[in-house]
Symmetry: C2
């Protein structure tokens, strides 16, 4: 395999000075060069995806190309940062031109949508498919929305609906002919990063803390709680569910929503005032990004970092809270 | 495997505001934050290393930690850029604490030497060891030393000596008890990136083009030639060789030097004036980085992109030039 011809054919695209004016040198030199706007910090995140761990070997390559970049765009969104560009390192067992063509189509369609060009990387042969994307963005200095800013009394919000991706994964593994799969599969394979909403949120100064939900609410919310030295009470009845999930038994739907993963929705905290709530709903409407208030930040409680509450099915919430997954994260 | 405890134990180190004042947020949030100095471009490079392709499974983990970062620092050096920080994505078959401890020691020793902190990344389980480092640096806007600036008449220079790493690899694979191995092994496993020399070179404005030699001179010099639309004549007799390689037959030593790899020396072109030559030798002495003039940039010659010349053993140079490896690259 000649890595240079591989890059040349599928991943080397000229940078468009009009569309991405801060990009100066892309693929083709020892390193790429770009400019960060004055008064801005550079924002960097990196995700490693490995065949058999993060995706099936037979995943549609176009969806994989989309998702590989989407999860990184979602990390930038979680900071309220504007994307600038990314590097792609890819290891492949062989040069499969059909696969490469589809993968790059999925990748570049999303890159073009977010004006986030590929500016460098590496290619090599490997036994299984290995994909690492490192993404760069910018944010006005000091304005990134960190995990450490949650305050006692804050509302806890999530965007979109939770649990669809985990339900899709379960169906693909255990019931691939189930009629629900068609409705939730795209949530697993083609997640939508909420970049524009997040940048507007940062610009409006509305959120105290934020992250993106890649390991389920029970897996990720504690990152905010630990970084901010607080706890939370979550109202399970309020967890936003798609129409598909809302038809499942509560225990099952909540399990997907809180212990599942791969939703790439945003979880944020903000002041519990009527003005802030109204401003958040305005932003949500403007960017067609539904948001739902699901709980409250409480003073640090070492015993129960998250209290999972329900009026509708208290015993189900209780059982969820006692399950292994929850105790695992609560113990941190 | 709990990736967070893994990160926490081995890769999460606090950023030192006094030593790396441009780093604001490191490992632990959705993304890292740093500042690029005013009037500077951000420089980014990424390398993917895979067990069985780029290193042996039984390589000393400390050396692997060193080399993983060194090859990226070398890419920054090739642009004349100053390192700022890096992300590490690592896939491991299991949590081997001894291996992780040694790997991180090698990694952080080099990171500390270059004030280049780890600021983020990803960890996951994988069947074989997978390492991707993306490195960030800065360079005064417009002053990066690109591959595209070589001019007809330029001298071609290389730092250090060439071929030792390829010779070491050959001995490890075919003659692991050979007495030469001890003298060249470090060149393969613990390469030294020439960052300070390269930054001084950029600052002095002496070089027209530069890259680092990771695929042998025959593999890499053509990148400069193609980007600059020129050709080159290389004097094989002048190729700098270590005392170990100089005792091998010329054909063998040249083969390692020009068709080998992993030397991570710099190859640069600069005006062929006595003033520039003297200035280069001064810099070389100041930074204890030997440099050797090995050839000349010539007008574009489609037939022979590189002419490999020798007074001492013309038939050997001729044979080298006709070998598969050379034609492969010459055909581009």
């Amino acid at each position: 395999m000649d890595e240079f011809s591989l890059i040349g054919a599928y991943f080397k695209r000229a940078i468009s000075p009009s569309k991405t004016p801060q990009m100066d040198v892309g693929v083709g030199d020892d390193a790429a060069l770009f400019r960060v706007a004055d008064g801005h910090q550079c924002v960097v995140s990196s995700d490693l995806l490995i065949e058999g761990r993060h995706f099936f070997a037979d995943v549609a390559p176009r969806a994989l190309g989309h998702k590989s970049l989407a999860v990184n765009l979602s990390d930038l969104a979680a900071m309220g940062a504007q994307p600038l560009g990314f590097t792609l390192s890819i290891g492949l067992p062989r040069v499969d031109t059909e696969w490469l063509s589809e993968f790059s189509k999925g990748l570049f369609a999303l890159a073009d949508e977010f004006n986030c060009p590929l500016i460098g990387g590496d290619t090599t042969q490997s036994d299984t498919i290995v994909i690492n994307i490192t993404i760069f963005g910018q944010v006005p200095t000091g304005q990134a929305i960190l995990r450490s800013g949650a305050q006692v009394g804050d509302d806890v919000w999530v965007t979109g609906t939770l649990g669809d991706a985990a339900y899709a994964l379960n169906l693909m593994q255990n019931a691939p002919t189930h009629s629900d799969l068609a409705q939730v599969r795209a949530r697993l394979e083609m997640p939508t990063p909420h970049v524009a909403f997040a940048c507007a949120l940062r610009s409006a100064g509305l959120a105290h803390s934020m992250l993106d939900v890649s390991d389920g609410l029970a897996g990720d919310l504690p990152h905010i709680l630990r970084a901010s030295n607080v706890s939370a009470r979550i109202d399970c009845d309020a967890l936003p569910q798609s129409s598909v999930l809302s038809q499942l038994p509560a225990a099952q739907a909540w399990q997907y929503a809180v212990a599942g993963g791969d939703d790439y929705e945003l979880c944020l905290t903000a002041s519990a005032t009527s003005e802030v709530r109204a401003a958040l709903f305005d932003l949500a409407q403007k960017f067609a990004t539904p948001i739902t208030r699901v709980g409250t930040i409480t003073p640090m409680n070492q015993e129960n970092q998250v209290i999972w509450h329900s009026e509708r099915a208290p015993e189900v919430a209780q059982r969820l809270a006692c399950s292994n997954g929850f105790n695992h994260f609560a113990s941190h």
